[in-house]
Structure formats: C-alpha cells, structure tokens
Symmetry: C2
Subunit: 193 residues, 2 copies
C-alpha cells in the first residue's frame, strides 16, 4: 500500500523550530532550481546563496551533497505519487496515459538527480517502490481491460517513458507526438479503441 499521506519518513527529519523549517524549505527549493539548472554538480555554496542562507545552515541540514539530493528527490516522488489518486475514475487507458504524462513532467527535472542516486541508494529503491505502487495498478487495470499488451511489465513502461523524456524537446508538440508514438507501442497487436 504505502499510502501517500503517511509516507516512510525514515530519512531527512524536518526541523522543528519555525525559522529552521523556513530555511530547510528554502534550501530544498533552491537546490531543486540549482540542480535543474547546472546539473548535479551545482555548487552547494550557490544553493545556499539562492536560499539566502549561510553555508553553515546548509551543512547542518544536509551533511552531505547526497543528503540534499535525496531530500529533493523524495519530495518530487511524493508529489508524483500523490497525483495518482483520483485517476481511478477515468477509463483504464485514459487513466494510465494521464499518469504517464505527469510522470514525464516529473522525470524531466530529475534526470541529473536520478543519475547520481542510481548507483547505490536505498532511498532510490524505496522511491522506486513508491512509484510502482502508484502506477502499476493503473497499468494492470489497462491490461485487464485489454487496451495494453500483456507481454510487458510496468517496469518496461517506466523505462520507456522516463527515457524518452530525458531527451530535451524543442517544442511541447514534438514531445507529445513522440510520447504518442511510444504509447501506441503499448497497445495490444490489434488494439481496440
């Protein structure tokens, strides 16, 4: 299950004093920007500067570059998984497609982070689980309804979609066109609808 509201908060304890919490959030926001802009190698001092916070504050909250990565990453994943709720009312195919569109938006920013965390991180693994438990039901429902081919798994879809999003597209139109092609590949050989 792993409901979205009461997620496993084992890591990254948010501080309790008001000003501290403000700084913590500012740092995450700043880090998200900096990483999106300069890749995973962005300077931590730059992150602190963006957040209008001393470098010491950054290190107190996130002793390591990796800690900061993970915090940003977890935040993103949480938002994504949360967005899977409410899609159950749509028809199977539409629900899946809608969620995959959100997934695309999610991956677009996170490629640099993912690249870093890929190598060895239980957080990454745990987020992966989270994502699967959000998306896999949608996929299975679509397969049961016969609108998605049966010979592939949800992990295949994740790779396909997350991959193609990593390429930067000159226009949203092209991105959607390409995404459409990929989605067509998901249909059963002689797909209804």
């Amino acid at each position: 299950m792993t409901s979205a509201g009461q997620a496993p908060e084992v890591f990254a304890q948010r501080p309790k004093r008001a000003d501290a919490r403000r700084n913590y959030d500012a740092l995450i926001t700043a880090a998200r920007e900096a990483f999106a802009e300069n890749g995973a190698a962005a300077s931590l001092e730059d992150v602190a500067r963006r957040a209008s916070v001393g470098i010491g504050t950054l290190y107190r909250n996130f002793p390591t570059r990796r800690h900061l990565f993970e915090a940003v990453y977890v935040e993103e994943v949480r938002a994504l998984c949360h967005s899977a709720e409410g899609l159950a009312e749509l028809p199977p195919w539409d629900a899946l497609v809608a969620w995959l569109h959100r997934f695309v938006a999610y991956v677009a920013t996170k490629r640099a982070l993912a690249e870093q965390l890929l190598h060895d991180s239980e957080i990454f693994a745990s987020c992966r689980t989270e994502i699967f438990s959000a998306g896999e039901p949608l996929m299975r429902r679509a397969q049961t309804a016969g609108v998605v081919r049966d010979d592939i798994g949800f992990d295949d879809v994740v790779r396909l979609i997350s991959g193609l999003t990593m390429a930067q597209f000159p226009s949203p139109e092209q991105r959607d066109r390409v995404l459409g092609v990929a989605l067509d590949g998901l249909r059963p050989p002689a797909a209804p609808r």
Copy 2:
C-alpha cells in the same frame, strides 16, 4: 550530402608528427573512457594521466574542455554514420531497425557529452546533420514501403530512441524488449509484417 568518407574536417586538426599523433589518439581514447565513467565533469588531469601524457600535451591539443568534448563526439558520430552503409541491401524495416540498434549503442555512451554540447555548438548541429543524412533515407524507405507510419518524421524517431537509451537498463534483455515496444509504435496503425 556530406559523404561519410570526406567529412567536414574544419575543426580538430590531427597533428602530423608520429609521436604527436599517437598522443592525440591516446587522449581521445582516454577522454572517451573518462567521460563515460565520470560524466562530462571528469577531470582533465585525469584524462592526461590515463593517456600517459603530460597535462601540457593535453592542453596543446585541446585548448579547452569543449574542444576535447567535440573531438570525442565527432569521432563517435563518424563511426555511427559509417555503419549505415551496407544496410541498403536489407529489407526496409530490417535496415531501419538494425541501424537504430547501432544508434542505441552510440547514444548510450554519449549522453553526457550531448548534454554539454547541446547548448551552443555548431559542431553539434553539423553532427546532427550528418546523422540525419545517414538515417533519414532508411526511414523514408521504410515509410514508402508502408512498414512505418507516415505521420512522424525522422527527428521524432531520433528523440524516441535516443531518449529511451539514456535510461540505464539492468539487463540487455529488458533494453531490447523496451526498444521493441518503441519500434512497434513506429508501425502503421494496421501494419503488415
């Protein structure tokens, strides 16, 4: 046109003395390794070390990190384009698929480089042209033969394939399976074969 044999060699003049040429090649090889391993931020001193060459030699050949990038990148593109020859004898669909498989192998290593060059580089643009003139005929032939849908362009295919390759796959089997799904998406709505 831009034939593969007599490519536009405007940049990156290879040195003429024997030892210098040896060093130049060693540097490119070392750089390819280093970039593949540590991403585009790999240390240039490390590259020199791998090539068993003084740091001064590196800078003489490639005054700038970017110069080195471009040299490596161009070398890769050349190999890829060259591999398109000889595919014309295969049936249209098979030829396209075969070339795309090679393309996948090419992109796998080059994502870090591409990311760097993306922003502003005529070399990148010129390589893009080169790739297109190698792959687009294969695509058009397949479309003419009716085995690839008509409502997409070669650039869409490039994005789709290059994108999905950027994701790292745990096993070659999965990579091929996913690639297969993507390729199915290229087929016309009611595809023969």
